[in-house]
Symmetry: C2
Subunit: 358 residues, 2 copies
């Protein structure tokens, strides 16, 4: 049977469902927020990994997309002509990746980041003889302590190195802040911008990101651009942070109860190979829609264990819908998604940028 003619109850489970009505609403709401605060929006494709949803974001006002790895950018650019501007927020190292980046840069506008001179030297060597220079932003550590130069002074030094490097143009500053990090972003970026401008170098873009922090992005007015990913689907971690409601969650996992071994316990056919072990600081591995009493307290690879303080109330064969802790990682676990509108399946979509880790 063609999956598009199936009802949800007929789908083989576990299945990852995307509610396109909610996706549309989430895209519109966040684009409106960005517009109101004078921020350009550059969605991160890591959440959906689907060219058609990137196209929806661009058609609603996004200025381009963000990818984390070269292979993600390759998959997305090949997937839709709507994508004409890609920022890869990653230090790109090694001849093979640089060659692939150069090939992409002949097709669309590419920007990347760097937080150290070794990466800048590699980019410069590769792009010195290309027709167009590569845009490079300096990644700044505004408190997340992952990548990034540690101080505004270091940012200014690296900006000047980029500006003087053959084949490169200095394109601005980038950060992935910790949650509620707007004040830190504002302080770091304003100082770095002043130091760089004092060298006679323009800072055209200052880009920050993260869906959890987006509601306060306006508190860092130095920012010109915002990168968010998860807002397109939302998930349990964002509901827990108060960023959205269950009704805003566009991605759900449809699962079947395969065993009810005790009155207070049921086992579903979605485990860590679907929901993943990501906790994001939460207890348990997801939320069963309509059942606030249930905890998903344990996952093995193909089993999810549901427990309740009262009767679990399921029988074998029942279906449940689970909002996962973290939407982005769930789309990386499956080869295809079921897209729905008004509760009916309208399409299946291969996850073209799944597994793109290089």
């Amino acid at each position: 049977m063609d999956d598009r003619t199936k009802t949800l109850a007929q789908l083989t489970t576990p299945a990852v469902l995307i509610d396109l009505d909610k996706v549309e609403r989430n895209i519109k709401r966040h684009q409106d927020y960005a517009d109101r605060h004078g921020l350009k929006l550059r969605p991160h494709i890591k959440t959906h990994k689907l060219p058609r949803i990137a196209a929806m974001q661009l058609q609603t006002g996004a200025i381009g997309v963000t990818c984390q790895k070269v292979s993600e950018a390759e998959a997305m650019v090949a997937g839709t002509p709507e994508i004409k501007d890609v920022l890869i927020t990653y230090n790109i190292i090694g001849a093979e990746k640089l060659d692939r980046l150069a090939a992409l840069a002949t097709k669309v506008k590419m920007s990347v980041v760097a937080d150290n001179e070794t990466v800048v030297a590699g980019l410069s060597q590769r792009f010195a003889h290309e027709a167009r220079p590569l845009a490079v932003l300096v990644e700044c550590d505004t408190g997340a302590h992952r990548c990034g130069v540690a101080t505004p002074e270091d940012a200014a030094v690296l900006a000047e190195v980029i500006a003087k490097s053959p084949g490169l143009t200095f394109a601005g500053l980038m950060t992935y802040p910790p949650p509620d990090g707007a004040a830190g972003v504002q302080a770091f970026m304003a100082q770095a911008k002043a130091l760089i401008e004092a060298k006679g170098i323009a800072v055209p873009v200052i880009t920050s990101g993260g869906t959890p922090s987006m509601a306060k992005a306006g508190d860092a007015p130095v920012t010109t651009e915002y990168r968010a990913g998860t807002y397109v689907y939302n998930d349990r971690s964002l509901v827990a942070r108060g960023a959205c409601t269950w009704d805003d969650c566009a991605l759900t996992v449809l699962a079947t109860v395969v065993s009810v071994p005790a009155p207070d316990r049921a086992i579903i056919d979605a485990g860590s190979k679907t929901l993943t072990s990501d906790l994001l600081g939460l207890q348990g591995y997801g939320h069963v829609l309509g059942r606030d009493d249930i905890r998903i307290d344990q996952l093995s690879e193909e089993h999810g264990r549901l427990v309740s303080d009262g009767p679990i109330g399921f029988k074998v064969g029942d279906q449940v819908r689970v909002v996962p802790n973290h939407a982005c990682v769930v789309t990386n676990m499956v080869d295809r998604l079921y897209l729905t509108k008004a509760g009916a399946i309208v399409a299946t979509a291969p996850v073209v940028a799944r597994g793109c880790i290089t």
Copy 2:
């Protein structure tokens, strides 16, 4: 460049490497253990997901393989003619999966498990008019509190239901015990076996499983068969349990240092999309070979953060080898693996049973 002509240092990272010399040694060691204890070995393919390694296990003495989902069995059976006997340790529900199971059963010997009468009824209805009956084992809960009938009495009741169901034969008892659960397995299974035999029904197979418990599998002499998966590669969780050494770990993740933002911190290009968030009770997300001082204290999707109490001692571009917490889930994250012998790449292998969740 053909990947087989590359040195490890030339590979695009992150890359998952499989040391075939260690695989061979691990297979031999565990087959020897099973032989010494009179246990038939039925390896779980969830760890490797590769037909060629299943073939190595079968050629060394395994009697068949274990899969968790029908789609895994389909991928493995299609991948090698060596696989002639498959046990799916899962309650199979729904017309589509039952049809696929029936198709498999025309090609190889298939067995499945059930822990409730709804599942048995579905299996019976589908197989009643097949040429060969389906072998069904009763899944028993010997302490892991996942699936399984709760008591030996319940096992005997369900065994009789299976024995009387058209299209099915009762094939024995199955359990996935908690770690160090041999005593519980022995007590439960001995009692269930006696109760079932008292009904005049034979119990040809009693199958237990799990690599962490395998060293004590001999403590449950009622067991006839053992299912283990992780032993083929081993991982950090098994080193932590004392089940193996770092030198026995056949799966490693090759990653590149992309940033050294502080003297005690480095960032690698392998994050949760490669190493996964599985903790298995451990602190941190993997072990950097040769660097006992380093903790991988934080993962995001494409970044792994390495910290040390002393100087981290890496420069950008250095490569590291990481033993992940849990090998099985890592092979589910990548489309291909690099197989090595004597430190050189001898083949790349598509992970044919990756993402098989239905």
